[in-house]
Amino acid sequence: MDQRRAPDEGRDEPAHLLEVEDLAVEFRTAYGKVYAVNGITYTLDERETLAILGESGSGKSVSAQAIMGILDTPPGFITRGSIRYQGVDLLQVGESERRQVRGQKIAMIFQDALSALNPVFSVGWQIGEMYRVHRGASRVDATKKAIELMERVRIPSARERVGDYPHQFSGGMRQRVMIAMALSLDPDILIADEPTTALDVTVQAQIMELLADLQRETSMGLILITHDLGVVADVADRVAVMYAGKIVETGSIFEIYKNPAHPYTQGLMASIPRLDQKGEKLTPIVGAPPNLMHIPSGCSFHPRCPYARQRCTTDVPPLYEVGDGRRSACPYSQEVMQTGPTRRR
């Protein structure tokens, strides 16, 4: 009980590029309401890379789609919160204004480039579409720009391949095409939803490197959504860990890896197989992720948490400040941090 509650965001701080505050999304299905996102708050600045880490069902993709405004509505509904881009709350603004932002200012790339790209149009056509539609460029000019972009994302023989179709590229190349498409109009923010999950390990590294380089060149903000801690280790500045639709910990990547402050994060770190663990049993987190239609009361992690106390079944923990720029949604964070990254027996 000695922890200080984190001050409300945004009061005395300079304007961030993107400010998400208390965002909540629910899906209304025939079987009931699914509470996919339950009040998340974070910020993103220029040149910053924020990694949003979480398992399937943690709400990370849904929150990104909400920011982009591409949620399937129905059945998805944003029930509260604000998404401020350069000070303007996107949720209060009309659809045509949102469309101006979408793709041109805030862009998104997806996991499976093969299904995310239209199979019947060439990659040049699809990349060029951004110029033709948003900038009124001609076919010829748009194709020229497309070639430029393809070269920028390091696709070899861009000029020859601009007329090729998505299925003619390898997975890694396709992902680069998507990146090219997303960067075409110099967005301020790029959201990458599991950009490397469908790729081979070596290609993963290449894509992450590309993203890092591009970010340096353009000073855009980058949000990386992933469930794979290793992939983002080199690229991310800060991490926000999500569980059951809430952010349970934020901090710099080093600190979170070295000394997690939330039991869930600690469990995640402990579950990574390590070379020096050879011969020992793996240690997963007990139990299973919650059913988002019936989220456990109080702290939603309490059924699986080794630090849980009785009060955890009733009290919903806010984000406590546990260090410089570090926050954790657990009243027992000190205890967690003292135990160390791998729970010792």
Binding site: A116, V120, V133
Partner: protein, 296 residues
């Protein structure tokens, strides 16, 4: 393609000429024939030759444009040439009717999935598909021709008016099928990932649907339209029969009723050839429409 052509024509040929029983009797149906005529016919149809030779001579005849003769000695090809323009006019009208209305209905239903319009389209198309074409023909003849007197009941006159009713009947089942096909295809494509990407690019909904999904969704529809030529031909027989239209289908209809089996076989073979040609065109068309097929 080639084996299919041979196979199909052989089956048709064999069924008439190779089954047990007297083929002459099969050809002549129930008419009595004088022995001299029978012998002459046997000779004319090469029935004294072994079957493969018969088939060979038949094929040679085909290539020379000899599709057989009626019992009155008229060349089947002559009959076909005479009646072709009427059938073409009718088929084109039916084609236009079914494709335009079918695609429109399919788009409306697909875009408004689950809404009233969608259910309306689904229900009405199911209903139409369930009505056998001859029932539909008579029904529309009765309701729109006899009762309401909007269209002539039978026969054709100059101009398009008299073609409208038979064209609608002919195209109705295909219309229903096209509407459903397009609807399903559209709904499926609207749920694709690339639609999400297109929306994320900031494109307007009209462009996402109109440009991105429609192109993909129309592929199965266009291939069906190509193949539907065969369906139109089969339906034309009944439709032309009911409405007493002097087209090719009508010729088959009459010949069937009067048991002039040579005419039947001759015309049907020709129609099958047209159908196979249409299939070939569709196969090629598919490669044009879907780049994924092109490069495989």
């Amino acid at each position: 393609m080639i084996p299919v052509f041979f196979g199909a024509t052989f089956i048709i040929f064999a069924m008439v000429f190779a089954i047990p029983g007297d083929p002459i009797r099969a050809l002549s149906g129930d008419r009595p024939m004088a022995p001299g005529t029978v012998a002459a016919l046997r000779d004319a149809y090469n029935l004294n030759d072994p079957l493969p030779v018969q088939y060979g001579k038949y094929l040679v005849g085909l290539t020379q444009g000899d599709f057989g003769q009626t019992f009155n000695g008229r060349e089947v090809t002559e009959i076909m040439a005479e009646r072709l323009p009427v059938t073409i006019k009718l088929s084109l009208m039916a084609f236009a009717f079914e494709s335009i209305l079918g695609i429109l209905a399919g788009i409306l239903a697909g875009l408004r999935r689950g809404a009233y319009l969608d259910s309306l389209v689904l229900v009405s198309t199911t209903f139409v598909v369930s009505i056998p074409i001859f029932v539909l023909g008579f029904l529309s003849q009765y309701v729109l021709g006899v009762e309401l007197r909007w269209f002539p009941v039978a026969g054709i006159q100059d101009g398009l008016h008299s073609y409208v009713l038979p064209a609608m009947v002919l195209g109705s089942v295909s219309l229903a099928y096209i509407a459903r096909l397009l609807r399903t295809s559209l709904v499926e494509n609207l749920g694709s990932d690339y639609v999400r990407t297109a929306t994320a690019k900031g494109l307007k909904r009209t462009r996402v649907v109109g440009r991105h999904t429609l192109r993909n969704s129309l592929i199965p529809v266009i291939t069906f339209l190509g193949v539907d030529l065969g369906g139109l031909m089969g339906g034309a027989i009944i439709t032309e029969g009911i409405f007493n239209i002097p087209g090719i289908g009508g010729a088959v209809f009459d010949a069937t009723k009067s048991q002039e089996n040579t005419v039947v076989v001759g015309i049907v073979t020709a129609l099958v050839l047209v159908f196979m040609f249409a299939n070939l065109v569709v196969d090629l068309l598919y490669a044009v429409l879907d780049p994924r097929i092109r490069y495989e």
